[in-house]
């Protein structure tokens, strides 16, 4: 049996408005390119970043103090042709990510696959909790 519920319709209307403001194209101007996502495990940090059209040799990753600095350039791949549409963005970028704990400087891995950069960092030994024995 179905009973008409006013709130269902009211909520649908609200969702339409929410969608209008939150759903957009992948162009989100209020965020800085490249977009990142940080996963924090107990001993491991994983940072993923979307950077379509950026080549591995154009990305520079540095560990400065307790921050990870990603700099690079997305080089324009325009050709000398009459363009009907130019929507993509190009240029240099820099992003600094403050790390939640100290990391092992030797064991940092960065992979670039399908336009997604993923960086894996390991917690440094002296940042791990240490149990102190009472003698």
């Amino acid at each position: 049996m179905y009973t008409y519920n006013f709130f269902e319709d009211a909520m649908n209307l609200r969702d339409i408005f929410d969608d209008f403001f939150t759903r957009r194209t992948s162009h989100e101007p209020y965020r800085e390119f490249p977009f990142v996502k940080i996963y924090e495990g107990d001993d491991r940090l994983t940072i993923t970043s979307l950077m379509p059209g950026v080549k591995a040799e154009d990305i520079d990753i540095q560990l400065v103090d307790d921050s990870l600095v990603i700099t690079g350039e997305k080089k324009p791949d325009y050709e000398e042709k009459p363009y009907l549409r130019k929507e993509r963005f190009f240029g240099e970028f820099k992003k600094m990510i403050k790390l939640p704990y100290r990391v092992n400087h030797q064991n940092i891995k960065a992979d670039l696959k399908d336009g997604v950069l993923s960086i894996t960092l390991e917690k440094s030994e002296d940042a791990k909790p240490k149990k102190i024995e009472i003698l």
Binding site: N5, F7, E8, A10, M11, D15, D18, R23, T25, S26, H27, R31, F35, V36, K37, I38, Y39, E40, G41, D42, R44, L45, T46, T48, L50, M51, P52, G53, V54, K55, D77, Y78, E79, K81, P82, Y83, L84, R85, K86, E87, R88, F89, P100, L112, D114, G115, V116, S118, T120
Partner: protein, 125 residues
């Protein structure tokens, strides 16, 4: 009951569908499309032409979450979909696609009959 859809969105695992950005140019014998679809491997990509509509839909491979909790996020795992209306000047059987560094390049060749042809003038004396 009034329920908040946003709270249940994680349970349903519905990815948001984004419209990828595109660069398009046209030359005498082809159209070239470049679309940004980071996180999509070749096998998750679906390109079809139906009734004068070219549709590119792609599923992300970033669903697999790395170890730990998500602390900060500027993007959600996204699928992509975009359609383009194309004319009859495009040869349906001659479409080339290339995926490189998260950028899809489509080359839509035009029919031989619509390509500009040079007409030679025979001089008759």
């Amino acid at each position: 009951m009034a329920t908040d859809k946003n709270l249940t969105i994680n349970e349903n695992h519905t990815n948001k569908v984004y419209v990828p950005l595109a660069d398009i140019y046209e030359t005498e014998d082809l159209y070239s499309l470049k679309l940004e679809i980071p996180g999509v491997p070749k096998e998750n990509l679906d390109i079809s032409i139906e009734n004068n509509e070219l549709t590119i839909s792609a599923k992300t491979a970033l669903d697999a979450k790395p170890e730990g909790k998500c602390r900060y996020s500027e993007f959600s795992s996204m699928d992509y979909k975009r359609s383009f209306r194309i004319g009859n000047d495009i040869d349906r059987s001659k479409v080339e696609a290339k995926l490189e560094n998260g950028v899809l390049t489509l080359l839509l060749h035009k029919h031989e009959t619509v390509k500009p042809r040079k007409i030679t003038i025979n001089q008759i004396n």
